[in-house]
């Protein structure tokens, strides 16, 4: 009963508003590739990608979905403690991630596996975190991809501060200009930190793009529990532009991100992008969406799949041969197998690494506890007669 009523409020748009994902001329929903794979133009977002570019985007979409699928299986098999699936959000992540320059900095949540892919992070590194082997552990500056942030919305302030650093480094404007993109979800928009980040970015005109993947659900809570207005409209109150893009359209996500990042690099300040998408899977592998949403909602979104529309476009336009698709599938098989094997054979960290990197130099307390615990562990070896 509660499921039905919750779903009913989700499904029905407010009477005075158009359906939230209906393309319109007011820029309320930017779409360049329909769910059927039809390419449409938008005057504000001319996009000149070659067939090779689009094939490359397709490849990324397929590969990150495969890795995600493998990770879910690994969790079911006990190899991962938990996994936060990106299923359904591939286009939002690959489109925005591929729109970044090598100099741009990205701040993710814990679900940005597609963006991580675009930034050259080995997926095995992501699995480390979900297996409990590390808390992250890649070099953020090397990849221009910050560590996953688990506390909801906290990274929006880090991104904004980083963007203020870019300003102070004189890296706004010009050929070497940089900007920041920060990812968060619809639930995060209720966090104080996100709203504070909007305030800071606005008053300091910081070169940061706020990329909100509105996947409609914050674990079990539908968007209506977070907002009475479309999320992108929040930006207006903070004094910077906001827009809504079809989050399942990789071309549109690419185009709007590229434009917003360029504006930020040129000193025009922040933009809020609301990528309207859907979390096709559970919040994480511990979640059970059947308790709070209807299967029919999922069915509707299946028809808007981010990968199928690109495939349809490539096929219909004769832009890719069957061999290309077979090749990508084979590559996905190999990537999946590699990730699976790397996860299963991933060693546990050594016990005494608990004490590493708490401070720049270990304090007396850390040093002493480390020594004591090492001696304690060694005592078992002695008991066993070694």
């Amino acid at each position: 009963m509660t499921v039905e009523s919750g779903a009913a409020t989700t499904a029905a748009p407010a009477p005075d508003q158009p359906a939230p994902d209906a393309p319109d001329q007011a820029g309320e929903f930017i779409q360049l590739l329909t769910p059927e794979g039809e390419r449409i133009d938008h005057p504000g977002y001319p996009l000149a990608l070659s067939a090779a570019d689009i094939r490359s985007l397709y490849r990324d979409l397929v590969l990150v979905r495969r890795i995600d699928t493998v990770a879910i299986s690994l969790q079911r098999q006990g190899e991962l403690g938990i996994w936060a699936s990106l299923l359904g959000q591939e286009a939002a992540q690959i489109g925005s991630g591929r729109a970044l320059s090598a100099r741009d900095m990205a701040f993710p949540t814990y679900r940005e596996h597609g963006v991580a892919w675009c930034r050259g992070i080995d997926p095995v590194k992501l699995l480390e975190l979900y297996r409990g082997v590390s808390h992250g552990g890649w070099a953020p500056e090397e990849h221009k991809f910050h560590l996953y942030t688990i506390v909801i919305g906290a990274q929006t302030l880090h991104a904004t501060g980083y963007a203020m650093g870019i300003q102070r480094d004189g890296a706004v404007g010009g050929d070497e200009a940089e900007a920041v993109i920060v990812y968060f979800g619809d639930g995060a928009t209720s966090q104080g930190d996100v709203n504070e980040a909007f305030v800071w970015a606005s008053v300091f005109n910081a070169p940061v793009v706020f990329f909100c993947q509105n996947n409609q659900w914050a674990i079990s809570e539908p968007l209506e529990k977070q907002s009475r207005i479309p999320l992108y409209q929040r930006a207006r109150g903070f004094g910077f532009p906001g827009l809504r893009v079809d989050g399942n359209d990789v071309l549109a996500c690419y185009a709007v991100t590229q434009k917003a990042m360029q504006a930020a690099r040129e000193g025009q300040g922040p933009t809020l992008i609301e990528a309207f998408t859907y979390r096709m899977g559970a919040h994480t592998t511990t979640d059970d969406p059947t308790r709070y949403r209807l299967a029919s909602e999922l069915e509707v979104w299946k028809h808007k799949d981010p990968i199928e529309r690109v495939r349809a476009y490539l096929v219909r336009g004769g832009l890719a041969e069957p061999e290309f698709f077979a090749g990508v599938d084979e590559e996905a098989n190999q990537a999946g197998a590699r990730v699976r094997e790397a996860c299963r054979t991933m060693p546990d960290p050594l016990p005494l690494t608990i004490f590493d990197h708490v401070y720049a130099e270990p304090t007396a307390i850390v040093r002493t506890e480390r020594q004591q615990y090492a001696a304690y562990l060694a005592s078992f070896d002695e008991e066993a007669g070694r």
Partner: protein
């Protein structure tokens, strides 16, 4: 040597830090034109510009969160939290982000940020302006927590904190801001005691009295008064609350056989509890009496007309010293 108030010594220390490293930034509410509500940053924006001395929007989590971002970019931000009781909106950023980033990144990220917090009571203020939340931060691995007690230390410790590659929570005893003392402003920090070390502020032989921040002066005054009873009190200014300089504390207690800890924060689960446990563990056979604690009550901070009852003063500290001789 220059005779400066503690507030001015902090100001001079921050000025030196800004001069010595172009990556040092100051940020907080009212730190610019106004120079901060306590004038600690007085004149710094005028001399170093708005890009380096930043008047921020009024949100503490935002201050610390953006400071983290600036530190990720290679800056050394010094944040001012206007009053102790206003740090709590920033606690998530401090505890979950600032303290843990080095660990999370397996040493690949440093966050050299300083969070300055005027702390403690005794100024007749309204609620939330007189608190001593140091233990929350001392209990958080990854943070260094320090408290200055006099102008000379204020000048050097703030500079050492800015230079630290670890995040530092820097407590300033607000009721001592106007205390004066000699400061070696020309000498810099070269000869100063390392940041993590306690200082034997007054040598004695009969009992070790430990204090930090605003109570160091009270402890020293108590020691002078105790001489009338023929007791020679050794006063140690802890300076660093995390990590604790346990070696200096224990060396003193082994000598005196008695230990009293004083702080404004509630006694229950306060820093005194940690010190008592460590001293007992390491100096058990030297102790003539249990380690005693004197501090705030297990109550919220009271209305200011009652704060003289809440805050440990000379008499309450002497009472604890007396009790230490009653075993």
């Amino acid at each position: 040597m220059t005779n400066l108030t503690l507030a001015r010594a902090l100001n001079e220390g921050l000025r030196k830090a800004l001069e010595n490293d172009p990556k040092v930034l100051i940020m907080g509410e009212d730190v610019g034109k106004l120079g901060g509500v306590f004038r600690i940053t007085d004149g710094l924006q005028k001399d170093f510009g708005e890009a380096r001395v930043i008047d921020t929007p009024l949100a503490e989590s935002g201050i610390v969160g953006t400071a983290i971002g600036l530190a990720l970019r290679g800056y050394r931000p010094v944040c001012e939290i206007q009053f102790d009781g206003f740090v709590f909106p920033a606690v998530d950023q401090i505890v979950s982000q600032l303290a843990k980033m080095r660990y999370r990144s397996r040493g690949q990220v440093s966050l050299p940020a300083v969070i300055r917090i005027p702390c403690g009571g005794g100024i007749g203020a309204v609620e939330h302006h007189s608190e001593s939340p140091e233990v929350l931060f001392a209990h958080t691995a990854g943070l260094r927590v320090v408290a200055c007690a006099d102008p000379a230390d204020a000048f050097t410790m703030i500079q050492q904190s800015v230079s630290s590659d670890d995040p530092v929570i820097f407590f300033e005893p607000k009721r001592r801001y106007w205390d004066k003392g000699e400061v070696a402003t020309a000498a810099g920090v070269a000869g100063a005691l390392p940041l993590g070390r306690a200082n034997v502020a007054l040598e004695g032989t009969d009992v070790t009295l430990l204090g930090y921040g605003p109570l160091v002066r009270t402890c020293l005054e108590s020691a002078v008064a105790a001489r009338e009873d023929g007791r020679r009190v050794e006063v140690i200014d802890l300076r660093s609350l995390s990590p604790l300089d346990v070696d200096t504390i224990c060396a003193s207690v082994r000598k005196t056989g008695r230990c009293v800890v004083a702080h404004e924060a509630p006694v229950y689960a306060g820093l005194g509890a940690e010190i008592a446990a460590r001293v007992t563990e390491r100096c058990f056979y030297h102790l003539e009496a249990p380690v005693l604690r004197v501090g705030g009550f297990g109550t919220p901070y009271p209305p200011s007309r009652l704060e003289e009852h809440y805050l440990p003063d000379l008499d309450r500290i002497l009472d604890a010293v007396d009790r230490a001789f009653g075993y």
